[in-house]
């Protein structure tokens, strides 16, 4: 919806522009600057003004800092850039890159990284809005970032949702109504889902269970928790788990909250609905499921693993850093670990 309100804003700015243009035509320049822009500052001298050429340079510099070798070098260069360029329009993006660089390194001050993420949301003006709920679910739980900061981000999402509700009440265009409704039906259940996960992290289990149940009942209406089945009388006849990230986290969190509030049967039922944890798509989820199973003393789900007959590894022939050709076949009779990796 941020995008929608932005496009509104753009429209109003455009209209304002046309209005100003009309005034310019109608009246003398002095009149316009006196009436429409009462506190016009003296223009910045060209030497201090940001030009597109300068912006291009800075953008290039920023990109190089963000893709500098991982670890301390990347961190130092991003920090220096942010310190030296308070007027760079892409600061929000750099702050996220810096936060990620710290998390990637593994040693960081959680409060500082959280403050970078929050500031990144506040300063966003260049590349489109960041969804605070996504940031919380992606970074906060796995890295144990401060939950106070997560709450503040969640409040921003609540505010946006309230604005969207207002906008929907007056919006007439069916297409824009659809966009608003789709966006709202996503964010409505996600807010209590994140709230529930925050409460779980804070060990407030009854509170978490209540928030997560609210997320479940809202998500059941929108299809976020699974494919929604309605019978002939429009009664809900079920919700088919589908292994999407939000529904999987919701079901796992519900399982944990149920277990901690003494509802073992509910815990098992919700755990059964978690789907997408085998693959690399969501390793954090997989790890969380595994540790919960261990804690609950639950056996791993009964599953039949299917493997291929042993197959030969495909041979390859690549140059090494010295320009020498190296093939896999050269290493016959050795055990080879072939690792694909990147320096970015």
């Amino acid at each position: 919806m941020k995008a929608a309100s932005k496009s509104h804003l753009r429209t109003s700015i455009k209209l304002l522009g046309i209005f100003i243009l009309a005034l310019t035509w109608a009246a003398a320049d002095q009149f316009v600057s006196a009436k429409v822009m009462p506190d016009k500052k003296a223009p910045t001298p060209p030497s201090e003004r940001m030009t597109l050429e300068r912006f291009k340079q800075l953008d290039q510099e920023a990109t190089e800092a963000v893709y500098a070798p991982r670890g301390d070098e990347r961190i130092a260069r991003c920090e220096a850039f942010l310190r030296d360029h308070p007027d760079f329009p892409g600061r929000s993006w750099m702050m996220m890159a810096l936060a990620e660089a710290y998390l990637d390194k593994g040693t960081f001050d959680p409060a500082y990284v959280a403050s970078l993420i929050e500031k990144s949301v506040d300063e966003e003006q260049f590349q489109g809005a960041r969804d605070p709920t996504r940031l919380v679910s992606r970074y906060y739980f796995i890295n144990s970032l401060p939950m106070d900061s997560a709450e503040r981000l969640l409040d921003k999402s609540r505010k946006t949702l309230a604005e969207e509700r207002k906008a929907l009440a007056t919006e007439q265009d069916p297409k824009r109504r659809q966009d608003l409704r789709a966006r709202m039906s996503y964010i409505e259940p996600v807010i209590p889902l994140i709230q529930g996960r925050i409460l779980l992290a804070r060990k407030n289990y009854p509170g978490a269970l209540a928030a997560l149940r609210e997320a479940e009942s809202l998500g059941n209406r929108t299809g976020l928790t699974g494919l929604l089945l309605l019978d002939d009388q429009d009664r809900m006849a079920g919700s088919l788990p589908m292994g999407a990230s939000n529904s999987d986290w919701l079901n796992l969190s519900l399982a944990i909250a149920s277990a901690r509030t003494g509802e073992a049967a509910g815990a098992r039922r919700y755990l059964e609905r978690v789907r997408g944890f085998l693959g690399p798509v969501n390793p954090e989820l997989a790890a969380a499921v595994e540790s919960f199973r261990k804690e609950m003393n639950l056996p791993p789900p009964s599953r039949k693993e299917v493997r291929t007959e042993p197959v030969p590894a495909a041979d390859f022939n690549l140059k090494d850093l010295e320009g020498q050709s190296v093939s896999l076949a050269q290493f016959r009779d050795r055990v080879v670990m072939v690792m694909f990796w990147a320096s970015w």
């Binding site: 070798p69 494919l227 089945l229 030969p312 590894a313 072939v338 690792m339």
Partner: protein, 418 residues
């Protein structure tokens, strides 16, 4: 970490090859990067494209090869506990123990006797898959798409034909024998037009210009003349195009179209904010719209034996549920739901018939139910990275043929774990 392991087991014949997937620009800086981090393993310049035989979806993907050159581990084996998993496997491999084949998938729920029927290695990883359903007299066909074109496979996994797309924005949208002559046609959608081609890519016709990206809602013989119409949605407009190119009807009176579904009887249902509106065979509204009590998007319906149909709704962006096939062979369509890392098939009653987990997310796109053999019911065809296109079902083992060697089957025959 891998470097440490290499050091630890080096004397016993373990070697680490680090294939850089950096682009040439990044490769130029590799020496500095390695020095900076104190790395001195063998680095090979791979580049951003996948090496044939090594598919992965993320950097830091590990393949393990035993002393005989046999693949002993694929990235999926190492996603969570790479170090522990390696420490567990390396001693066996060092001792020369025969390698287990890589894990392909696991089944949490499956019909009794559910197993691999055939498997075909695919050279270029596909990005999309569709199926032309079986019709009386001829079987289903499978079409795989990659960046540049499509390849058509028979229900027994033989590659029949292939063709290139006309421009990079084209995609496979549907396959069907539109004119009823026994050969399937393939419908491709582009930014503003649709094209109908044969298996060799020969173009029969191209539609007129669509303002918004045309989506194929389904194919159905709406005028009952024996050939199929294509139901196209473009924004708020819904068209039915005849196989022999002409327009059967076009409905431009709808406002705020959310979704269009065509059921197995050929009923066209259009969801707007007012509810689900049935269109008759001439494209006109039939009765009042049926109000939808939830803010979700209509995807289709399941025909139960008792209690009337179940209507299925999803979020706006989740339109991957497939209603067109029957896994259990009970005569009613089942529901295939691809997920982040696997897929589920639900019966018309909504009970799980199959829950399959795979290691990669590609199954989101690349699974379908296909009628492979004479058995009642359809088989599952799924693309598994590092393995190929696989047909699974409860069909009997086909008699060995000349190319049986290519059809390496899994060692274990999967059965219902319950």
């Amino acid at each position: 970490m891998l470097q440490e392991l290499e050091k630890k087991y080096k004397q016993q014949g373990v070697v680490l090859l680090a294939v850089s997937i950096d682009d040439p620009k990044g490769q130029a800086k590799l020496s500095a990067f390695l020095k900076d981090r104190g790395l001195h393993c063998k680095v090979l310049l791979g580049g951003p494209d996948h090496l044939p035989g090594y598919e992965y979806i993320a950097a830091s993907s590990l393949f393990l090869v035993d002393r005989k050159g046999i693949l002993a581990g694929v990235p999926g084996d190492f996603y969570y506990h790479m170090r522990e998993e390696l420490e567990r496997r390396l001693p066996d491999l060092i001792a020369g123990a025969p390698s287990q084949g890589p894990l392909l998938w696991s089944l949490r729920t499956a019909p009794q006797g559910f197993r691999e029927i055939w498997h075909r290695p695919i050279e270029k990883a596909p990005t999309w898959m569709i199926v032309a359903p079986a019709r009386a007299g001829h079987p289903s066909e499978i079409a795989l798409q990659d960046e540049s074109g499509a390849a058509i496979y028979s229900p027994s996994g033989e590659r029949i034909a292939s063709f290139d797309f006309d421009g990079e924005h084209e995609a496979l949208a549907a396959g069907a024998d539109l004119d009823g002559d026994g050969a399937n046609e393939w419908i491709l959608t582009g930014d503003h037009t649709i094209r109908v081609v044969d298996a060799q890519g020969y173009m029969y016709w191209r539609s007129g210009y669509y303002e918004e990206y045309p989506q194929i809602a389904g194919v159905s013989d709406l005028d009952e003349d024996g050939s199929l119409e294509i139901i196209v949605r473009s924004g708020d407009r819904v068209d039915a195009l005849r196989a022999i190119p002409s327009r059967l009807w076009s409905n431009e009176d709808l406002h705020g179209v959310m979704s269009v579904a065509v059921d197995s009887h050929g009923t066209v249902e259009v969801q707007t904010e007012q509810g689900i509106q049935i269109l008759d065979r001439r494209g006109n509204p039939k009765g009042p719209p049926r109000r939808v009590p939830v803010p979700a998007y209509y995807r289709g319906k399941l025909e139960r034996f008792q209690g009337g149909p179940l209507r299925v709704f999803a979020t706006r962006y989740n339109d991957s549920a497939d209603f067109s096939h029957d896994l259990d062979g009970d005569g009613r369509k089942d529901l295939l739901v691809p997920s982040n890392a696997g897929l589920s098939v639900y019966s018309a009653e909504g009970t799980p018939l199959l829950i399959m987990e795979t290691l990669e997310s590609q199954t989101q796109l690349l699974s379908a139910l296909v009628h492979v053999d004479g058995r009642k019911g359809d088989e599952l065809v799924v693309y598994v990275p590092n393995y190929g296109l696989v047909a699974l079902g409860v069909a009997p083992i086909p008699p060995p043929s000349g190319n049986a060697k290519q059809h390496l089957g899994p060692r274990g025959i999967a059965t219902d774990p319950h």
